[in-house]
Amino acid sequence: MTTTSTRRVVVGQPLPDRTVKRKKRNWSMAGRIVLLAIASVFILGPVLWTLSTSLRPPAESFQLPPSFLPINPDFSSYGQVFKQLNIMLLVLNSALVTGLIAVGQMLTSALAGYAFANLKFRGRGALFSIVLATMMVPVQVTIVPVFMLIRGMGLSDTLLALILPALPTAFGTFLMRQYFLGLPADLGEAAAIDGASPWRTFRSVYAPLAVPGMAIVGILAFNYHWNEFFRPLIMTISEQNFTLPLGLVSLQGNLGTGSISVVLAGVILSMIPALVVFMFGQRALRDGLTAGTGK
């Protein structure tokens, strides 16, 4: 009510301060851009420094003033990384662990999400609540029994110790259930009338439509497990089973402050796959990270 009366007053005025207002707005926008630019310098600066230092000879690592752009790139540190650290093995381990977990989570979450969304069975609601409740329990709390279990299965210090426990995903199941609920129900009915078995209905009708949702689950799993540090630190003992983050941290420990550029070269190499995901799957990653938090 009050707003309409105010509006009338404002509209009735003969535009006295239009230009003043516009100028003011331009200034405030410029101010905002400056502040945002400063913030992004603080965010991107450290990464640029890492990149440029990795591309300079080790002797210049601690040179001040620092350079944020490599002038004469020197790739010797990258050669050194391959020499001092079995980085190909680390990459292979990380890729294997991350890839299998991502694919595994896409499958398990699509299956379970479909059951929770489209199939009727006794105890569905209760079971789904249990699945959601497990999200509240942090990994660090279950790690001791999981470690014992893995030991009991004879899998300690293997890559399977990292992969197996990460295959089921509460969050992914939640995400896929939402996704299947968003698909029209009559598709399944139509397929059933045509004589498709429930499995066929899932396999040929719903699963293909749910690929974008599965992609979100896969990308989230990739982002999380490629960067994971805590579980590999506990589950792997011998260096041949280390994943990238673990290998890099132990490289830093071994080298002391000697050749920083070599460590940083390794850090940059480990960022590349994440960067690729960032460039091509940023939207999916954003949607996935914020899914289930709105409303």
């Binding site: 707003t3 105010t6 404002v10 405030s28 926008m29 851009i33 945002l36 913030a39 992004s40 965010i43 991107l44 990464v47 420094w49 230092t53 601690f62 003033p65 620092p66 299956l111 379970a112 479909y114 059951a115 199939l119 249990i130 497990t134 329990v137 942090p138 660090q140 709390v141 790690i143 001791v144 029994p145 014992m148 279990l149 197996l164 295959l167 089921p168 509460a170 199941t173 059933a192 009338i193 004589g195 078995s197 429930p198 982002n223 960067n227 540090f229 805590f230 630190l233 983050p245 941290v249 830093q252 940083l264 850090v267 960022m271 960032f278 940023q282 990270l289 914020t290 938090t293 709105g294």
Partner: protein
């Protein structure tokens, strides 16, 4: 029900098992469980059983070598008396308070600035930049940040020298180390809260702002009186998620400071890790884990209550 209406088609296609029962629903009672099996078996084995085991283990003394012995509440009593554990919990709480406040404040301010009138290519750039650290590994980030915060040769002290601040002993003093852990953590994680706030801001209808500006609200007053109240559901979710994540901080202090100097940056999860896998006191580690889980559950419960009472929904 539709499968049951067309038994003929099912017979034509299906095997013997498919046409045993005239009632299609009966026949497929096991089917949902086939879909659920991988998730349920996996979760039962690697989440539910470990949760129960963790609680049980908290009442036992066990070092793997000798058989576990029941000790009642001894582990909890020891944990309460252990100075390292106590300091670590206090550190964690202090860390959560400061880091979450910084993270939310920064994220909210930047989200409001990004969502206001801005050339769209700049908006895309800023959003991507603030989001970027989320894709990096906390361990890698801590590795390069350690060099940046080096007392003699680090870029941070070099920059500070321009505004007349003498070299700060970042990683060799308790306060300096705590500050580095907090700064590095916030640097990497504020983007998550930023994303949530962006989503929340986008859901505020523009008419609300038009009405407010016609009422004479501009600039900061507009945000204090319109944005903040309407954003309260998002703020609640963002703070709870930030608190829960911060309570579990491990990677950054482990790589940056190793918990030191002394115990000054040791956190609750670091103590779980150390008592289990370095001192082989699995019972004690479980007791600490149970306490941490209870805290997290209490915060989640509080969120539910708060969201019913105080949050302003449109």
């Amino acid at each position: 029900m539709s499968t049951a209406t067309r038994p003929t088609s099912a017979t034509r296609r299906g095997g013997a098992a498919a046409n045993n029962h005239p009632n299609g629903r009966q026949r497929q009672r096991w089917l949902p469980w086939a879909f659920l099996a991988p998730t349920i078996v996996g979760m039962g084995l690697f989440t539910l059983v470990p949760i129960v085991a963790s609680v049980v283990l908290a009442f036992f003394r066990w070092d793997i070598i000798s058989p576990p012995s029941f000790v009642g509440f001894d582990n909890f009593a020891q944990v309460a008396q252990d100075p390292t554990v106590r300091v670590s919990f206090l550190n964690t709480i202090g860390f959560v308070v400061v880091a979450v406040a910084l993270q939310l404040g920064l994220a909210l301010a930047l989200a409001i600035m990004v969502q206001e009138k801005l050339p769209s290519w700049l908006r895309v750039f800023f959003r991507s930049a603030f989001f970027f650290p989320l894709i990096l590994s906390a361990a890698s980030v801590s590795i390069f940040m350690r060099y940046l915060f080096n007392e003699q040769f680090g870029v941070v002290n070099w920059l500070l020298s321009f505004i007349g601040i003498p070299a700060v002993p970042w990683l060799t003093t308790p306060t300096g180390s705590a500050a580095v852990v907090i700064l590095v953590y916030v640097w990497q994680n504020f983007g998550f809260s930023f994303l949530l706030f962006i989503g929340g801001l986008a859901s505020i209808p523009t008419e609300t702002y038009e009405a407010a500006s016609l009422d004479g609200a501009t600039g900061w007053r507009k945000h204090v009186h319109v944005t903040l109240p309407l954003l309260s559901p998002t703020t609640l979710v963002a703070s709870v998620m930030a608190i829960i994540n911060a309570l579990q901080v491990f990677d950054q202090p482990y790589v940056l400071t190793g918990g030191g100097p002394g115990d000054s940056t040791r956190t609750a999860v670091m103590v779980i890790f150390e008592s289990a896998f370095q001192r082989l006191e699995f019972g004690q580690a479980s007791a600490i884990g149970v306490i941490l889980t209870l805290i997290i559950m209490a915060i989640t419960a509080l969120q539910f209550r708060l969201s019913k009472r105080f949050v302003f929904y449109q």
